[in-house]
């Protein structure tokens, strides 16, 4: 080590080295910085001991305080549940009709229903109950297959459609074509008649009318007004579940009569609690078509 040397300009000591005539001032780390550094080191060691820190082969070191962020979340969720429980008990106790009348309860149910709808129903029925033509009915219009009163909606949500639940809606339309109940020609005629029903000018006296009266009226009723009890859609309007395009409505009707498609829906009482189903009911009812 070279001899200790003081720089004449700054008055500071140099490191004593010289590189091509350039010398460097000796500027040690500030003391406060060094103290903070060691404090951080000590803190880090204490942290490893107290908190979960190191990965092991099958897990990680738990730490003496036994903290886990999952546990934190758990606690928060529990607190949330407690906060919600007063509303949920109220909802549980009230009937859907009462909920619809009580403004504060209705507000809570609509918000909760919207969330539950987004999680459980929107994958098929779409956000806002927009539905998917040809597959899942639109819930925002005033046409219902299984009924649009609060009680009807609750029933459908609870037990679903054509599933394994004992109380689900079950009825199906016969396969008039596939099972050879009607000939292709007859199907063509009855399809013509059904389309005319929708245009509000029924083709009276046609062959189709006779076939309709014989085969379809039992479920779809006189004039095609439909029956909510058996889930027979109204045929006298322009809302078609299985085909929205008017140009091909007739073919669609024909296809349906030949070999009907049948939608299905889970029984939500098997998955959701009662309060949630009530919230869903008032929410669906509020989408625009509630009776």
């Amino acid at each position: 080590m070279a001899s200790l040397e003081k720089d004449s300009v700054s008055g500071q000591y140099t490191t004593g080295h010289e590189w091509d005539g350039i010398r460097e001032l000796n500027t040690p780390l500030p003391k406060w910085w060094v103290y903070v550094f060691w404090a951080c080191v000590i803190w880090a060691i204490a942290y490893w001991v107290a908190m979960p820190a190191w990965p092991t082969v099958n897990g990680y070191t738990q730490g003496m305080l036994g903290y886990s962020s999952r546990g934190d979340l758990d606690n928060e969720l529990k607190l949330q549940k407690v906060a919600r429980s007063q509303w949920l008990t109220k909802l549980q106790a009230a009937s859907v009709e009462d909920i619809a009348k009580d403004k504060t309860l209705l507000n809570y149910a609509l918000v909760g229903g919207k969330l539950a709808f987004g999680e459980n129903c929107a994958p098929c029925h779409g956000t806002g109950g927009v539905g998917i033509a040809g597959a899942y009915p639109r819930l925002a219009d005033d046409e219902w297959i299984w009924g649009g009163t609060l009680a009807d909606i609750a029933q459908t949500i609870k037990f679903g459609v054509r599933n394994t639940n004992g109380e689900s809606h079950v009825s199906e339309m016969p396969k008039f074509g596939a099972d050879a109940l009607l000939t292709k020609e007859q199907i063509d005629q009855v399809s013509d008649y059904v389309v005319s029903l929708a245009s509000k000018a029924p083709a009276a006296g046609s062959l189709g009318e006779a076939i309709f009266a014989e085969q379809c009226v039992a479920c779809h009723q006189e004039g095609g007004v439909g029956s909510k009890d058996v889930g027979a859609p109204a045929l006298n309007n322009n809302i078609w579940l299985f085909k929205g395009d008017k140009e091909v409505v007739k073919q669609a009707v024909a296809a349906q009569v030949t070999a009907p498609k049948h939608g299905a829906m889970p029984a939500w009482s098997e998955r959701l609690d009662e309060a949630t189903i009530k919230m869903l009911t008032v929410y669906v009812h509020s989408l625009g078509g509630g009776k």
Partner: protein, 479 residues
């Protein structure tokens, strides 16, 4: 290696030491003006929140109030909503240009007389003087070793400072809620953490800035001193030393004649009186806050030696030169600069008055629902959903009739109103609230042929006929 600390001498330090400035007590017109202004400003700051103004139920009856929870601002007869924050922008613009205007005319009157930093520093120095004594006593105390008496004096000073700062902080919080209630809550320890934090932050800032930072704020923190020269011209009033009259300076002995020398007796009264510790005889400088205390100090000395006032005066650069040349000084108020500032001030003021005078007391927001975009109903008609918000910005309920224009045969229905469908419907909007309605508009299918048809909502006040139109669209399947 030798670990000895290298010698640090004053010549190789990066930063100059901060010398505590102990301004000497002066008497004179500027000092008096400053006392009165300080009293008036502090009185306003602390008393204004207690001025009452009837605002109806649910709001504090306070003339000046920033109601954060209710999201309203009140200033006497003016009430603004959050989206009307441009009134505050206007007020700030007005204030900035007023500051420029003031500077162009009369120099740094803001800094010297009106700035809270100056006012509170003045007050804190007053506390020091009342406890310890004038400049020399305070300087001696600073140098003295720590004794019980010094500790007692310093304790009293800091206790008084903290009390003043706490009051300052409390004063701040009173503008955000009912003043009487807030005071009661603060002293019964029932106020919110937010209130106490605000007192801590504002009061702490007051204690640090007026007690310790003082002129450092003006020199290093405040941008205004740095760009003041942009506002000045030769006719702006500044604190000026008449060098032609004062120099060459020399101490004066009693009875000695002032023949052949300057009038400055080099007593340094001006330097000792200065709250930023500068020597005004070096000319206009950034650190001069224009408080005029050196003028009072100098005039007092001039009286003692029997010379005329005004060796240091509140005058313009132009007049300084005029006097030096023996010409008559003249005040020139109308200059391009001052005219421009006046025009700007008038324009902004007029704009704000106009905006306030024609302020809409109702606002409407319409949102067309997008999921579903439209719904075909069983009777063949098409329905669109809208979220319709009415902001009723007065404290009384209003009854409106709502209809649509643009599509033949459209009928509307307010969801949950129980009024049913109709070409026109009634909305009852409670006062001082935002009311949100869901509205369905039904149109027979044949009346809309496009995917998108323009539609207007027309809201008419049934009492005074005021109409608000809002544009939106009606979506359909198209044909």
């Amino acid at each position: 290696m030798n670990k000895a600390t290298p010698n640090v001498t004053s010549s190789n330090k990066l930063y100059a030491d901060t010398v505590t400035i102990h301004p000497r007590k002066v008497k004179g017109p500027f000092r008096s003006i400053k006392w009165w202004l300080m009293a008036a400003m502090l009185a306003f700051w602390h008393l204004a929140p207690f001025i009452r103004w009837d605002r109806g139920p649910g709001v504090a009856s306070q003339a000046i109030l920033a109601d954060m929870a209710g999201r309203r601002g009140y200033f006497f007869f003016i009430e603004i909503w959050p989206q009307e924050v441009y009134y505050i922008t206007g007020a700030l613009l007005f204030a900035a240009i007023a500051l420029f205007f003031m500077s162009a005319l009369a120099g740094r009157v803001w800094c010297g007389f009106l700035c809270w930093q100056t006012v509170y520093t003045d007050l804190f120095v007053l506390v020091e003087r009342l406890v310890v004594g004038d400049r020399s006593a305070r300087m001696m105390l600073d140098r003295a070793p720590w004794t019980a008496s010094k500790l007692a004096k310093k304790t009293v000073i800091h206790a008084a400072w903290i009390a003043i700062s706490a009051l300052c902080g409390i004063g701040f919080t009173l503008y955000f809620g009912d003043a009487f209630q807030t005071v009661r809550e603060i002293f019964t320890l029932e106020a919110s953490i937010g209130t106490y934090s605000a007192i801590g932050i504002v009061g702490g800032a007051c204690y640090l800035l007026a007690g310790f930072a003082r002129e450092q704020v003006c020199l290093y923190m405040c941008p205004y001193s740095r760009f003041q020269s942009a506002m000045f011209d030769e006719h702006s009033l500044i604190i000026s030393y008449e060098a032609w009259r004062g120099e060459p300076r020399a101490p004066s002995r009693k009875g000695e004649s002032f023949e052949g020398r300057g009038h400055c007796i080099d007593c340094k009264a001006c330097v000792q009186a200065c709250p930023t510790g500068i020597d005004i005889r070096e000319g206009l400088q950034m650190a001069c806050i224009g408080c005029g205390l050196c003028i009072d100090a100098c005039n007092t000395m001039m009286d003692k030696v029997g010379l005329p006032h005004g060796l240091i005066s509140y005058d313009s650069e132009a007049n300084l030169f005029a006097r030096a040349k023996g010409e008559a000084p003249q005040t020139k108020l109308v200059r391009l600069r001052t005219v421009l500032y006046t025009v700007l001030l008038a324009a902004i003021g007029a704009g704000m008055l106009f905006a306030l005078g024609t302020r809409h007391t109702v606002e409407v927001n319409v949102l067309h629902e997008r999921s579903p975009l439209f719904v075909p109903l069983s009777d063949g008609s098409i329905r669109n959903g809208y979220t319709y918000k009415v902001l009723n910005m007065v404290r009384k309920d209003r009854i409106y009739s709502l209809k649509t224009v643009g599509i033949e045969g459209a009928s509307l229905e307010v969801v949950g109103s129980g009024q049913g469908k109709g070409a026109e419907t009634e909305l009852q909007v409670p006062g001082d609230q935002i009311s949100t309605y869901r509205i369905y508009v039904n149109v027979p299918e044949n009346n809309v042929s496009n995917i998108k048809t323009p539609l207007q909502f027309v809201l008419t006040d049934k009492a005074d006929g005021h109409v608000v139109q809002s544009e939106t669209i009606f979506a359909g399947p198209g044909r």
